[in-house]
Amino acid sequence: MSLDERNKAMLAIDFCGLKFNSPLVLLSGCVGFGEEYTRVSGFSNTDVGAVCLKGTTLEPRLGNPPHRIAETYMGMLNAIGLQNPGAHKVVEEYLSKLDFSETRFIANVSGSTIEEYAEVTRIFDDSPIDAMEINISCPNVKEGGVAFGNDPDMSARVVEACRNVTKKTLITKLSPNQTNIAENARRCIEAGTDALAVINTLMGMVIDIEERKPVIGNNQGGLSGPAIKPIALLKVHQVYQVSRQHNVPIIGQGGITTANDALEFIIAGSTAVGIGTALFYDPLICPKINAGIIDYLNRYKLKNVTDLIGTLKLHEDGGGECSG
């Protein structure tokens, strides 16, 4: 095997039966409908295991008024408001422009009612899409989204409704804006999800002191980027305690910017790791993170990145819950 082939083999993983080139997944809302970043010379979808498309609802949505983004310390707020052309148009016009030999494409299913989630899932079921991610954690819409994701009963009902209409891989994207994320994960697994995405953005605000108004048109937005990484990592650790018992893989995400960040998430229990906001800083970051992961695996004589999943060694006398 050539070095290149060996490197590729080290990164290749099986995710719920889907072949991923790498554990890296480009995150929903950061890469449009899959082709946008190919504008950048040197960028390739083949560097990642999968690409998640923008949150999609049944009907087209215009999204929120400007401003939709604001910079924060080590991160950013966004309140896009699920701008999308509707599920039918995504399937008819956007999926046909994607090269499914380059990577796996995952739809991001959103809605205001359980019926809408199920209908969007059904539309994608009848399309070339590889998998669907149920977004019950969008903080930027008035109905559905995080309102469902923060209620374990509602979360389970949404997952169940989607499960009933597809045999394709279903990933449920959990919100960090809730009390007991592990319990919610358990309910979603029981309702039939194949995988979990942990975490979506945290709710936040930025104020313009001259105007005394929130910078974001929607008043509040979702915080992403390095600022949320420690929170995301702990949530992955907590969810993994449940998901491992059911063999349900996690796409860990939240602020990953370097290979070391990605490795932390894998050690905490992620099978795949998401890259979102980091692309805005460096659109060519994925090959760099891949190379860093390979270096680490070589250093510890590991044959494949899956050998690292959940290898966290907790301090035996560590208190856990209590801090301060």
Partner: protein
């Protein structure tokens, strides 16, 4: 597979700072070596730049000039936040990470005889780029550039050597660079700067338009970039005189490649209202679609 035509159109360059000059009003002109961006840039294109590696979010900056042959581009910026404050500290020979060129430029060519270019504040750069482009590609076309600023202009204005008919008495200050190219320019401000029109750019533009013989009016078209309120006023003016008008918009950006929909403006289309991305659907739009005539 037929890939979309947009693939590989934006370049990631490690651009070396050639020149970095402070101007009045806490404004700076930076010349960067970025050969790929320089050779593909068109008036209206912008770059998305890292102001400083420690500050994660990039900043969009309009390209003011681009020289294909020697591979440099020039930007103009005003210090008004964390990013531009750090950018101002970058020194000659520093390396700046940029993405460019980005965006749908102005519709070039097929100009009317008298293009009117109106730039306000940090919206001036695309007007300079466009003026230079017209100079080089359309010698029979006679642009007039009107610029407005409420802080000192980012150049040392001097009395123009070029006559412009219909200008109010005493409005003689011009941008030396344009004057040297033989392109007339005039300045407007409420701050009482010497030789400038005291009022808004639209006030000065109106005086000039009114001075034209009626049949010359339909030889005019407008190109504009600047603060939103100014763009709206210019769009209304264009509507009033039934002149074609292209506006270059600005909005906060995260990705600048069309991925996040963070930079949208509301645009009226044949199919009703749409939210268009300033970064890749713009920054240049038809004025009436963004500012529907009142």
């Amino acid at each position: 597979m037929n890939y979309s035509k947009t693939r590989n159109t934006i370049f990631s360059e490690q651009a070396r700072v050639f020149e970095h000059n402070a101007q009045a009003g806490n404004q700076y002109v930076m010349r960067l070596r970025a050969p790929l961006t320089a050779s593909h840039a068109k008036p209206g294109s912008f770059i998305h730049m890292q102001c400083n590696p420690e500050l994660l979010m990039r900043r969009p900056m309009s390209i003011m000039r681009a020289d294909k042959n020697t591979g440099w581009i020039e930007i103009l910026y005003k210090v008004h936040g964390d990013g531009t404050m750090r950018l101002a500290k970058r020194k000659v020979n520093d390396i700046v990470d940029i993405l460019g060129p980005i965006g749908v430029p102005f519709k070039l060519g097929g100009y009317r005889k008298f293009p009117l270019l109106i730039g306000g504040g940090v919206g001036i750069p695309p007007m300079i780029f466009l003026a230079e482009h017209i100079l080089k590609t359309a010698p029979a076309v006679h642009p007039l550039v009107i610029m407005g600023s409420e802080i000192p202009f980012p150049f040392k204005a001097r009395p123009s050597k070029i006559m412009v008919s219909g200008m109010p008495e005493g409005v003689i200050a011009a941008m030396p660079l344009l004057d040297d190219w033989g392109i007339p320019s005039r300045l407007a401000s409420l701050q009482g700067f010497a030789g400038c029109f005291e009022g808004y750019v639209t006030g000065l533009a109106r005086q000039w338009l009114d001075s034209l013989k009626p049949d010359l009016n339909n030889e005019v078209e407008i190109f504009t970039c600047g603060p939103t309120a100014m763009l709206e006023a210019v769009s209304q003016l264009a509507h009033e005189y039934t002149l074609p008008c292209q506006v270059s918009m600005e909005e906060y950006m995260a990705c600048a490649v069309g991925g996040c929909a963070g930079c949208t403006v509301r645009v009226e289309t044949d199919d009703g209202p749409a939210m268009k991305r300033v970064c890749v659907d713009g920054p240049v739009f038809d004025a009436a679609s963004v500012f529907p005539p009142r």
